[in-house]
C-alpha cells in the first residue's frame, strides 16, 4: 500500500515538474478570475471564451512584444472572499494582469487588494482590467492607478437611456425594479437623476429592490408593476433575475417598454420571445446588427465556439485586448507600470468609431448603442429569429461624465 502511494507521489511530482518546465518559457500571464461554477457560471464561462479567443489572436500575431499571453483561469464563485484567495494564488503564479467582471462587490475587493499589494511590492506590480463591474464608485471615489474599466458604468449607460427617452412621448409612467445590492441601488439612483434631468414630466410610479438571484417567481412583482399603471420599466437585473422577470411579464401579459442593462444577456431573448419585439431595449457597446455585416471577429468566434449559447456578447473584451496590444507597442515593454502609463489617454479606432482610455479615472470611452428587439433584424440572438436593431448611437466622447477621482500615480 505504502509503495503504491509512493509511486503515485513521485509520478505526480514528475508530472508537476514537467508542467512547470513547459510553462517556464517567456510568457505574459493573465489571470481570469470569475465564476466558473455555481449560479453565475454561464456568464463566467461565456466571457472566459472571449478572453481565450482574443488572447489567442494576439498570440497568433506574435504576442506582446514577443511574449506569448497565457491565460490562467480561477473560479471565484462570485464571492469576494473567494476572489481574494485566488487573487493571491494568481499573483504567486506570476500573473501580471487580473481580468474580472462579474459582480461589483467582487471588483471592489480585488481593486482594494491589488492597490495594497502594489504598494507593498514595488517592482512586482499587477494591473486590474475590469470588463463588466459597473458600479460608478470604482472610477470615482474608489479609483486607483492600477484599475482600468472597459465597460461603461451605470451612470453612462443610464445617460444613454436618457438620450433614447428624451423624445419618446409615449413614456409617461416609469417603474424601477432592481436587485437589492450596490449595483441595483446605483441603477435606481441613476434613473432618478436621469429622469429628473431629461424627462421631469415623467412620473416614477413604483420602485422595487428585490433580493439578488433568490426570487423564483416574479409574478407578484409583475402584478405590482401592472397595478401601478406603468408604461415603462427600467431594470439593471442580470442573469436569472432578468430572465425570470421578463418571463413573468410575458405570462401576465404585461405591456411595457423594458429599458434593460442586460436584456440581451444569455437566455433573456428566448424567454420573452415575440412579446419583446419593439419593447425590449438594451444599452451595450455592441450587438450583432451594429453594422450590416458581421465583423470578422464574430465570424471567427462562431467558427471556434459553435454552441447556440456561444453568443459574442462582450465586444468590450475585444476592445480591452486591442488596447492592451496597442499599449504594449507604445510602451515597448510588458512591465505593468509602463503598460498602465501607456494606456492612460490612449486613443484607438474601432470599426464603430474612436475609443479612448480616460487618463483621469481610467474609464474606457467607447461608442454605446441603445437597441430594441426586432423580428426584422438581419442577425438574430440564440437562434430565436429575433435580433437587436440600433435606435440610438452615442459616440465615445459623448458618453464621458464628470468624475470625482483623485488618483495617486507611482513616482
Amino acid at each position: 500500500m505504502r509503495d503504491w502511494l509512493h509511486r503515485i507521489g513521485t509520478g505526480g511530482l514528475a508530472v508537476a515538474l514537467l508542467a512547470f518546465a513547459g510553462l517556464a518559457g517567456a510568457q505574459f500571464k493573465i489571470a481570469y478570475i470569475d465564476p466558473l461554477s455555481g449560479g453565475a457560471a454561464s456568464a463566467g464561462i461565456n466571457s472566459q471564451k472571449h478572453v481565450i479567443f482574443f488572447t489567442d489572436r494576439i498570440n497568433a500575431a506574435g504576442g506582446l512584444n514577443g511574449e506569448k499571453i497565457e491565460v490562467l483561469s480561477y473560479d471565484n464563485k462570485v464571492s469576494p472572499q473567494e476572489s481574494l484567495i485566488v487573487l493571491k494564488k494568481a499573483i504567486d503564479e506570476g500573473a501580471r494582469i487580473i481580468v474580472q467582471g462579474n459582480g461589483s462587490s467582487v471588483a471592489h475587493a480585488i481593486t482594494d487588494a491589488v492597490l495594497k499589494y502594489n504598494e507593498r511590492n514595488p517592482g512586482k506590480e499587477v494591473l486590474f482590467f475590469n470588463y463588466a463591474a459597473i458600479d460608478p464608485a470604482l472610477t470615482n471615489e474608489k479609483c486607483n492607478f492600477w484599475h482600468f474599466r472597459f465597460d461603461a458604468d451605470v451612470d453612462m449607460k443610464m445617460a444613454a437611456f436618457g438620450d433614447a427617452m428624451v423624445n419618446d412621448k409615449s413614456i409617461k409612467k416609469v417603474y424601477l425594479i432592481n436587485q437589492d445590492y450596490s449595483f441595483g441601488k446605483a441603477v435606481a439612483a441613476a434613473a432618478h437623476r436621469m429622469l429628473a434631468q431629461k424627462r421631469p414630466d415623467v412620473q416614477i410610479v413604483g420602485e422595487e429592490l428585490h433580493p439578488l438571484q433568490k426570487v423564483q417567481d416574479f409574478s407578484p412583482y409583475v402584478a405590482k408593476i401592472k397595478a401601478s399603471g406603468a408604461d415603462t420599466v427600467i431594470t439593471g437585473n442580470w442573469s436569472n433575475d432578468m430572465l425570470l422577470l421578463v418571463k413573468a411579464g410575458k405570462d401576465a401579459d404585461l405591456k411595457v417598454k423594458w429599458f434593460t442593462y442586460y436584456g440581451g444577456g444569455l437566455g433573456s431573448v428566448p424567454a420573452i420571445g415575440r412579446d419583446g419585439v419593439g419593447t425590449l431595449k438594451q444599452v451595450t457597446e455592441y450587438h450583432n446588427n451594429v453594422s450590416p455585416t458581421l465583423p470578422p471577429e464574430e465570424v471567427e468566434f462562431h467558427k471556434r465556439f459553435t454552441d447556440k449559447s456561444d453568443e459574442m456578447y462582450y465586444w468590450r473584451i475585444r476592445n480591452m485586448f486591442a488596447m492592451l496590444q496597442a499599449a504594449a507597442k507604445k510602451a515597448k515593454s510588458n512591465d505593468p507600470v509602463k503598460l498602465a502609463r501607456a494606456l492612460e489617454g490612449l486613443q484607438m479606432d474601432t470599426p464603430y468609431g474612436p475609443m479612448q482610455m480616460r487618463a483621469d479615472n481610467h474609464q474606457l470611452l467607447q461608442p454605446l448603442f441603445v437597441s430594441t428587439l426586432s423580428d426584422k433584424a438581419k442577425h438574430d440572438v440564440e437562434g430565436t429569429g429575433l435580433g437587436f436593431i440600433t435606435d440610438e448611437k452615442i459616440d465615445a466622447a459623448k458618453t464621458a461624465l464628470p468624475t470625482t477621482c483623485k488618483m495617486t500615480r507611482p513616482s
Binding site: 455555481g38 449560479g39 457560471a41 454561464s42 464561462i45 437589492d180 422595487e208 429592490l209 428585490h210 433580493p211 433568490k214 426570487v215 423564483q216 417567481d217 409574478s219 407578484p220 412583482y221 402584478a223 405590482k224 401592472k226 397595478a227 436569472n240 430572465l243 425570470l244 418571463k247 405570462d251 401576465a252 401579459d253 444569455l266 437566455g267 428566448p270 420571445g273 454552441d307 449559447s309
Partner: protein
Amino acid sequence: MKELVAFSLLNGVVYGLLLFMLSSGLTLIFSLMGVLNFAHASLFMLGAYLSWQISRWVGFWPALVLAPLLCGLVGAGIERFGLRRVHRQGHVAEILFTFGLAYVIGELVIMAWGRNPIENHVPAAIDFAAFRLFGTSYPFYKVLMMGISVGMFAFLYLAFKRTRVGLVIQAALTHPQMVGALGHDVPRLFVLVFAVGSALAGLAGVIGGFALLTEPNMAANLGPIVFVVVVVGGLGSIPGAFLASMLIGLLQTFAVAIDYSWLDLFRAIGLKVSSDSLLREVWSVKLSQAAPILPYVLLVLMLIVRPRGFMGTRET
C-alpha cells in the same frame, strides 16, 4: 387595487400549490422512513430535464406521464441499492448519503444538459389563455398546475386514509417493527414509498420546469423552501404540508405587494424616528423587500412555539 388583490391571491395560490407538489413527496418519504431526503429537489430537477427531453421526442402529454415514471424508477433504485445499505449506519449516514446524492445528480445534469438554462418553454399543446381577468388573459398551464397539485393532494389523502397500503404506511409511521412482525414487507413498502415520492417530485418538475427556470441550480434554489414547508406543516402530514404551502405561497406573494415598513407604522402611531437614530436601516426595510425571508421567519417561530408543526404527529 382590486386587481392587485385578485392577482396576488391567484399568484399566491399558484405558488403555494407548486410548493405543495414539491413537498408532498418529501413529507411522504420522511413520514415513513424518517429520512430527510436532501436529494428530493434534485429529483424535481431531474423531472424537469427528463420531461423536456422526452417531450422533444414524443410530445408533451406522454412526457407528463413518462418523466415522473422514470423519476419513480430512479427513486426506487436509490432506495433499493443505496439507502437500504446505508440505513444500517443510522440517520446521519442516510442524510450524508442523500446530501452527496444531490451533488451527484446536479453534476450529472450539468454533464448531460450543460450549465446554461435550457429553453424549456411552455409546450405548444398547453400554451393558450384559460380565461380573462380584468382584461388580462391567464395562461392555461398555471390552471393545469393547480389542477395537478390539487389532484395530487386528493390522491395522497385518499391513499393514506382509504386504502390498505395507506393504513399499513400509517401504522409503520409509529411502529415499524410491529408492522414488520405482523408479516408486512416493510422494506418493499420503503421502496414503494420512495418511488412514489420521487415520482411526485418528477411530476412537479415537469410543470415547474417551464413555470420556473430549468437550470442546474434549480434544485439548490428550491431545496430550502421545501424543507420549510414540510417542517411548518408538520413532518409526515399531507394536509399539514398542503396548509403550509398555501400559507407560505400567499404570505410571500402578499408581502411583495405591501410597500410599508416599520417606519410607516411608527409614523402612524405618532412616533418620530430621526434619520440618525439607531437601527434606522432596519426600520426602513419595506415588507416587500423582506418577503423572501418571511418563510424562514415562520420556520423559526414555528420551531419555537409548536415544534411539531401545524398537523404533525411527532416532535421535529
